[in-house]
């Protein structure tokens, strides 16, 4: 009976295709001799075509400038409120001293209150060089505020339109620590927010126009862009105990070293070495 099983098994195993027989040494040598010249020739050709591919780090990622602008365009085009402006009391916004027949009086307009949203119309990276990114930012919006004042001694209220516009080039410096983020830090620069208020109060037309200087670093905070790496991952291992779960998961931390980032004509290039650390 034992022999029956053994013979059956061996017969079946031998019938199991390529698994049953090992090629002879000579057959293998012939195969190697046939493959090797073809392979060598292909490899030589491939090596020549790929000689310029980057290397030298565990991970190198390259992000095209156009890809970053696709993301920024989505931010600019979103339907949510981009920028909110709350107007505080400004007393006065405008005033003029007058005298009629020796009687002195003051015409003035105060801003009482007001709030509205303005739109980020455009935000895109225009050029990359020497780890500096040039960006174009355009902001525009119109809304109403509440003003009050006196004209020729008569008190009045009005809700004039305020128009804001900003179209400036700003710059970011690009850097990375040994981390999974690329930092875009705005560089200090004064940008001008153009404001125009057209006030009509009791027939008194006041053209108010002013360029409000803003520091780019106040307007835009640093941006931390993930490099697709993660500082920790949940790593699958085989389950040490037999059961319904085939895998178990352990946490591994990643240590980054020799990280660098480069901004050039093609976009951003991030490089880093990575080591796994156990909990």
């Amino acid at each position: 009976m034992t022999k029956f099983f053994l013979i059956s098994a061996v017969t079946l195993f031998i019938g199991c295709g390529s698994s049953a027989n090992i090629p002879s040494k000579k057959e293998s040598q012939q195969k190697i001799a046939a493959i090797k010249p073809q392979l060598d020739s292909l490899l030589e050709s491939i090596n020549q075509q790929t000689i310029a591919l980057p290397g030298g780090r565990d991970l190198i990622s390259r992000t095209r400038a156009s890809a970053m602008n696709t993301l920024l365009a989505r931010v600019a085009n979103r339907s949510l409120a981009d920028i909110h402006i709350d107007f505080l009391a400004t007393r006065p916004l405008w005033k003029e001293e007058k005298s009629v027949f020796g009687i002195n009086y003051t015409n003035f307009v105060d801003v009482d209150t007001g709030a509205f949203n303005i739109d980020l119309k455009k935000f895109l990276f225009t050029s990359f060089s020497n780890n500096i990114i040039n960006a174009q930012i355009e902001i525009e919006g119109t809304g109403s505020i509440v003003v009050s004042g006196k004209y020729t001694g008569v008190t009045a209220h009005s809700t004039p339109q305020v128009h804001f516009y900003l179209d400036e080039e700003i710059q970011f410096s690009v850097s990375t620590a040994d981390s999974d983020y690329i930092k875009l830090i705005p560089i200090q620069k004064i940008v001008m927010l153009k404001s125009k208020v057209t006030i009509a109060l009791l027939g008194w037309n006041i053209p108010y126009y002013r360029e409000i200087p803003l520091q780019a670093t106040d307007l835009i905070k640093p941006v931390f862009i993930p490099s697709a790496l993660r500082s920790e991952i949940i790593f699958p291992l085989p389950a040490a105990q037999y059961g319904s779960q085939r895998l178990e998961f352990v946490k591994r931390y990643l240590r980054f070293s020799r990280s660098s980032v480069r901004a050039n004509d093609n976009g951003l290039e991030y490089q880093s070495n990575i080591d796994f650390e156990k909990e």
């Binding site: 009976m1 034992t2 099983f5 053994l6 098994a9 061996v10 079946l12 195993f13 390529s18 698994s19 090992i22 002879s24 040494k25 293998s28 190697i32 493959i35 392979l39 490899l43 491939i46 090596n47 790929t50 591919l53 290397g55 780090r57 565990d58 991970l59 190198i60 095209r64 156009s66 890809a67 696709t70 993301l71 989505r74 931010v75 979103r78 949510l80 909110h84 402006i85 709350d86 505080l88 916004l93 801003v111 404001s195 002013r210 409000i212 200087p213 803003l214 106040d218 307007l219 905070k221 941006v223 931390f224 697709a228 790496l229 790593f235 085989p238 040490a240 037999y242 085939r246 080591d275």
Partner: protein, 272 residues
């Protein structure tokens, strides 16, 4: 009539166990053994197979896999689409793959309730067109006290699932070296076959090698406010929001000592 001795009963029980194990294996063999392209090299006792023969067979199979991969890569490079023509590209070093795969060194898992395995090492080599991992492990059948040291050559295939990037091991050369102990030792040739067949399902049980990347990205844009007290008194504020985007895999290419991924932006969204 010969009287049955306790020893005979023991032998009969052992035989029944072996036979039932056999039958189970035989029924599960056909599907498990016929792994696509799997090539199991078996050093069978007394079959006049020498180590050199095994090594040459293994070398030939590896070269065959490499040739196929190199041909495919060569065709890809000739198709005119630059490898850098993607929104985001990633180059992973061979060293990184080995750091990731070595996380499995020493791990113990199970093929079934009676057969455990222990991974000694997984070492990955990247060639032009192919990634080949050599897995050294031992498997132990607890019922039959059979210990198998196994060397598997595996092609690495790559997949992205829910933003996570994995390498999957697909064996194409399996070289076991069986150590049978206890009463089973007498059947060592057959047991080698059984255990070899059993082990051919191992690839289904090996965990994937996970890369430390996530292609479902999001990053916060901080809230900000500026107070202006010049001319018009006002506070300008921008709300915090999160930019979310996901990347779709365009292609994976394997070059000598590096793995290349090209990804395009698939979805972009802005949330609070």
């Amino acid at each position: 009539m010969k009287k049955r001795l306790p020893k005979d009963a023991h032998t009969l029980r052992s035989f029944c166990m072996q036979a039932s194990f056999f039958i189970i294996v035989l029924f599960s063999v056909n599907s498990s053994l016929l792994l696509t392209g799997c090539f199991i090299l078996r050093p069978v006792t007394g079959a006049n197979i020498d180590i050199d023969q095994l090594q040459k067979a293994r070398e030939a199979k590896v070269l065959e896999v490499r040739l196929t991969g190199a041909q495919q890569l060569s065709e890809r490079l000739a198709n005119g689409d630059s490898v850098s023509n993607a929104d985001q590209t990633f180059y992973f070093s061979e060293a990184l793959l080995n750091k990731a795969s070595s996380q499995l060194d020493g791990a113990t898992g199970w093929i079934d309730s009676l057969t455990s395995y222990n991974i000694h090492s997984i070492r990955v080599k990247l060639y032009n067109g192919s990634a080949i991992a050599t897995v050294s492990l031992s498997a132990f059948n607890h019922d039959y006290d059979v210990d198998v040291n196994l060397l598997m050559d595996c092609v690495l295939s790559f997949k992205i699932d829910s933003g996570k990037f994995y390498a999957i091991l697909e064996p194409f050369n399996v070289v076991p070296n069986v150590k049978a102990g206890g009463m089973i030792g007498q059947f060592d040739g057959v047991i080698q076959d059984i255990v070899t067949l059993k082990l051919s399902t191992l690839s289904d049980n090996l965990p994937p090698i996970q890369f430390p990347v996530d292609f479902n990205n999001q990053f916060p844009v901080q809230a900000n406010s500026v107070q202006i007290r010049s001319g018009l008194n006002m506070n300008i504020s921008t709300p915090a929001h999160t930019l979310k985007y996901s990347l779709a895999l365009k292609e994976v290419l394997i070059f000598k000592e590096k793995l290349f991924l090209a990804m395009n932006i698939k979805k972009v969204g802005v949330g609070k």
